[in-house]
Amino acid sequence: MRAVAVTPDPLQLEPLLCLVADGGGHGAIVSFVGTVRDNNLQRRVTHLEYEAYEPLAVKALEQIVEEAGAQWPGIRAAVHHRTGRLAIGEASIVIAAASAHRANAFAACRYVIERVKQIVPIWKHEFFEGGEVWIEGATVNPTDEAARLEAVRRSCA
């Protein structure tokens, strides 16, 4: 089990929890699961398709895990992102972060999802009743320190 992955296979949280749990050293494990909602902006969503620039997406996830480790020394984090067609309720992303104490575990987990939304080359294609649309979020700039600090701020560090 790798700490980061971009995969068309269904995601599972449990292996990530095992991966970050440092065999007794880390008492707090926080995880995030993002699932496909049945609605968005008053649209009735039928399904999603995620497209990735996979080699760079993997590197971006590795960078994010490294950033989190630099921000909160000693934490362990892992993140897997799904690609392809996803039905309502399926997980598009699973994140786990572990630390000796809960504050850093919560912060690191939140940081990872915030940074994923900022810099990872993955795109969501939303299919809803009556149409489809590519969701366009953040302009990618991996060296934008202001954006990174905004992710730290949202992590409530």
Partner: protein, 81 residues
């Protein structure tokens, strides 16, 4: 020199393909390739201010100079998570 252009999401839809091979002048930058692409597909112009790029699967700046056989990817605003 010859480069491979990788397109994603809406850009891929506009171009009708995810991969393009293009001959560009020696010394071309990512921005040069982008401008040529916008000439070819005017609908892409709306991404002028939001486009990012990667060269050979590493983040790059639009000012990066390309080499023969480089793979250049254009990344519209992302929406993972």
């Amino acid at each position: 020199m010859r480069v491979t252009v990788r397109l994603f999401a809406r850009l891929r839809d506009i171009a009708g393909t995810s991969d393009l091979a293009r001959d560009v002048p020696a010394g071309s930058t990512a921005a040069d390739v982008w401008r040529a692409l916008v000439m070819e597909f005017p609908e892409m112009a709306r991404y002028d201010s939001s486009i990012s790029t990667a060269v050979n699967a590493d983040y790059a700046k639009m000012t990066t100079s390309l080499a023969d056989n480089d793979e250049i990817a254009f990344l519209p605003p992302v929406s993972g998570g």
